[in-house]
């Protein structure tokens, strides 16, 4: 495998740079996916039938904690990649671990939120509005959960093999994914929660 030393490790081989480009294209596909889910939500938001409406359901507290956790984790994954570029394996692992723990915290709060909703009688079956809310949030949450498992897998490989062109490439692609989830959350926070609370 030809390694081009003038480029960062994660771009250093042709295969690596193809993988990063391919992942950008994949994120290009994630945009219409979430755009469709948002569209469905906006179509459904006032169709709450006999169930609760958005303003009756949402509480700002847990949402702020979720937002704080996810936005901070986007910062720490950036720090992890920064450490990777300098070859600091230990720092990189620590920052990745912090990232994943914050992701886990996010998922925990989201699950708790879902339980609360269902406890209040707001379920997937209640109304078109709630169906679209659960599926939009659930798809994002499923991405974060998948990201948690994926990130953990990459950490094991980093721990075993150190920072190599292969592991650096994986970690970098994972960071792209994680940033993307953050961007989606900003939209959810603004256009689902804040708008719903108004």
């Amino acid at each position: 495998m030809k390694i081009d030393a003038s480029k960062p490790l994660e771009y250093s081989t042709e295969e690596n740079s193809n993988k990063i480009f391919g992942f950008w294209v994949f994120l290009g596909a994630e945009i219409p996916l979430f755009a469709t889910l948002f569209t469905v939500y906006f179509v459904m938001v006032n169709r709450f039938a006999s169930g609760p409406s958005a303003s009756e359901l949402f509480k700002i507290g847990p949402v702020l904690i979720e937002t704080f956790l996810l936005l901070s984790s986007s910062f720490t994954i950036g720090l992890a990649i920064h450490a990777m570029r300098h070859g600091y394996k230990k720092a990189m692992m620590v920052f990745m671990a912090i990232t994943l723990l914050m992701g886990l915290g996010f998922i925990g709060i989201e699950i708790d939120e879902f339980f609360t909703y269902v406890h209040e009688g707001a379920t997937l079956q209640t109304s078109g509005f709630l169906s679209s809310l659960f599926v939009l949030l659930g798809t994002h949450g499923a991405h974060v959960s998948f990201g948690f498992l994926w990130g953990a897998g990459i950490m094991i490989q980093l721990w075993r093999h150190g920072i190599t062109p292969a592991t650096a490439n994986k970690a970098f692609i994972f960071s792209l994914f994680w940033h993307f989830l953050d961007v989606v959350w900003i939209f959810i926070f603004s256009f689902v929660y804040l708008k719903g609370l108004m």
């Binding site: 391919g22 997937l124 169906s131 897998g153």
Partner: protein, 649 residues
């Protein structure tokens, strides 16, 4: 567990299908064991990551599905051949037209095109493989398992029966209580993920792996069409993913997306479906345009006329394809303003398409035309497709559409577009590139016989439907009275369908005959081709090109032959890196199949287990440290010598 759900009752046809599926399965298993081919099958095909073999498997699956969908078509034409026929009952007629549409579009046209894409694109751009060979195998197995899942529905549990567009509320649990539409949502979902991965893979392959010197505006037209098609795939398929997921939630978990009460909105489905569905039409037709462009240039011995306008017309078509979806339901009451908008965008598509038609005609002008089988299909395509296009513009006019909507006129229109636009193209491409993959041509005489059968019978089958539609016969009608007067034209259409079946059987016979008797092709360039795929041996070695070619002009090989522009910068043969075979994509596909099947029947425990299985397989694939192997320079040189002597390797 309620075993009754799995059974399909009644019909002798169903029992016939069950017996034939069972016999075919036993036949394959016994045959493989008897000829000791299990190891061969596993090593050479199930675990392969070679783009050529994956392409061949796609095409084989597509041919199988062509016959499955063809049998559906024959059953429908037989049932409507005369008034008050008793061949199929209403329920089975519903299932048959639904699976016919699904199979022909998603499991015949798409995989056939993706198969040709797989075989040809890396060769045409001078690459050794696609960007992600293992992911390519994942794509294939997901498509294949999705196709199988839909196919078993006919005998286990019942097929989807709400039309290929599965409009709600008809497709909801309330009005379609069988598992048929569960199959719909899951089979399409699984194969759709495969298609999306293909899209990503080929965009990267074409943008990043072209031979040195091949700038974007020097790419062969087929490569251009495939690039644009894959961009459409990447933007359109996620919408289908969401639509199918919401359908699954509605049917399995009782959500309220498309229901009639509790705030659901049935029209949401129609919109989501066609936001994907209309670009889907161009996903199957744009590569066909690419294939025709290659064939016309080759057999007219001329450069393609208007290369730049060809590229731009495809770009414009791809953009417009996302802006026309509501023309599928003008009559559903979205108002005059919306209908006018979609009417105009729809008619606008005729402009870039017309540009392409004229470019092909100008390429033919003063060309030295040879009438080979692929060229005949191409020449037949131009007028037939134009009829399809013009009737499309008729349908595009919203106010007039109220007359044609959901009549046989529409059925005739889209067959006039899709059969010359996709089926003729893949058959033409199949004849054209067959010698590239197998090293011998298909017999021309048999090829022309099947061409005339297919092209004449096609018109006999579908032209009467225009008139039936204008007479008021609605589509998806399983029978009609004698007084309606629909009988004679339907009978004519049935006669045409029999002719089509004969044409396709001749095509298969041609493959068999040519395999046995056609002389091997020693030139590796039997058609006097223009593009890079003809610059290597036929069949090509696993590494495609011993030396990566350099490109200076649009038709690189043609320039090399005519003007002695060198294809190779006198480079030495060096060692070649190749990906290793792996069984993981196949196993992943099998687990997806089990997951899909369990969800269809709401078997939660197997569903959860296979869901975990998918994640475990993905982890295995991530932890895999096999980074492929090298073929040494000596080995490449030895292989090249053998191939030059005409031996197989």
């Amino acid at each position: 567990m309620d075993l009754d759900k799995f059974k399909v009752h009644g019909e002798p046809l169903i029992y016939g299908a069950m017996v034939s599926i069972a016999l075919a399965t036993i036949g394959i298993l016994v045959g493989l064991t008897y000829f000791k081919k299990w190891g061969y099958l596993w090593r050479e095909w199930l675990t392969t990551v070679d783009h050529k073999k994956i392409g061949v498997m796609y095409i084989l699956a597509a041919l199988l599905m062509l016959f499955r969908g063809g049998v559906d078509a024959m059953m429908m034409r037989l049932q409507t051949a005369a008034p008050e026929m008793k061949f199929l009952d209403a329920q089975h007629y519903n299932e048959v037209f639904t699976t016919h549409g699904l199979i022909m579009i998603l499991f015949m046209a798409m995989p056939f095109i993706i198969g040709l894409m797989n075989v040809i694109i890396p060769l045409q751009i001078g690459a050794r493989d696609v960007a992600f060979p293992r992911l390519n195998a994942v794509s294939f197995w997901l498509f294949f398992m999705g196709a199988m899942l839909l196919n078993i529905s006919f005998v286990i549990g019942g097929s989807p029966d709400a039309g290929w567009s599965a409009y709600f509320p008809l497709a909801s649990l309330e009005f379609s209580p069988t598992v048929g539409n569960n199959y719909y949502s899951l089979a399409l979902q699984i194969s759709g993920i495969g298609t999306l991965i293909t899209g990503v893979n080929f965009i990267v392959t074409i943008l990043k792996m072209r031979a040195p010197g091949m700038k974007l505006m020097k790419m062969p037209m087929f490569t251009w069409s495939v690039l644009i098609t894959n961009v459409i795939i990447v933007f359109a398929f996620p919408v289908l993913t969401v639509a199918l997921a919401l359908m699954m939630f509605d049917r399995l978990f009782g959500s309220q997306f498309f229901t009639m009460a509790n705030g659901g909105m049935d029209m949401l489905w129609a919109n989501l479906f066609w936001v994907w569905g209309h670009p889907e039409v161009y996903i199957v037709i744009l590569p066909a345009f690419g294939i025709y462009s290659e064939i016309i240039a080759t057999f007219s011995k001329k450069n393609l006329y208007g290369y730049t306008s060809m590229v731009f017309s495809m770009l414009i078509i791809s953009l417009l394809s996302f802006l026309v979806w509501a023309h599928h339901f003008y009559t559903m009451g979205q108002g005059a303003m919306v209908n006018s908008f979609f009417s105009i965008t729809t008619m606008a598509i005729a402009v870039p398409t017309g540009v392409k038609i004229f470019n092909w005609l100008f390429t033919l002008r003063k060309g030295r035309i040879t009438f080979t089988t692929p060229m005949l299909y191409t020449l037949a395509f131009i007028p037939i497709f134009t009829i399809g296009g013009v009737t499309g513009v008729m349908l595009a006019m919203a106010s007039a559409d109220y007359q044609y909507h959901n009549t046989m006129f529409l059925v005739a229109h889209f067959h006039y577009v899709l059969i010359p636009g996709a089926v003729f193209a893949v058959i033409a491409g199949f004849h054209y590139w067959f010698p590239k993959v197998f090293g011998f041509r298909l017999n021309e005489r048999l090829g022309k016989h099947s061409f005339w059968w297919i092209v004449i019978s096609f018109n006999v089958t579908f032209f009467p439907l225009f008139f039936l539609g204008l007479m008021g016969m609605t589509r998806r009608t399983y029978t009609y009275s004698e007084e309606s007067g629909f009988g004679p034209l339907n009978m004519l259409s049935f006669v045409g369908a029999v002719g089509l079946a004969i044409g396709f059987l001749l095509l298969v016979y041609n493959i068999y005959w040519s395999t046995r008797y056609m002389p091997r092709d020693t030139t590796s360039d039997p058609w006097d081709g223009r593009t890079l795929e003809w610059a290597t041996h036929s069949p090509m070695p696993i590494y495609n090109f011993a030396i990566v070619p350099t490109v200076q002009t649009r038709d690189a090989l043609w320039s090399a032959k005519q003007d002695n522009i060198p294809l190779y910068d006198d480079k030495k043969i060096t060692k070649i890196h190749m990906p290793s075979n792996t069984g993981k994509p196949f196993i992943l596909g099998v687990i997806f199949f089990i997951l899909g099947f369990s969800l269809v029947f709401s078997l939660w425990i197997p569903a959860i287990l296979s869901g975990i299985g998918v994640i475990v397989m993905l982890a295995f694939m991530s932890f895999d440290r096999d980074h492929g192997y090298y073929i040494s320079a000596e080995e490449v040189i030895a292989t090249e010598k053998k191939l030059k002597r005409g031996e197989t390797v």
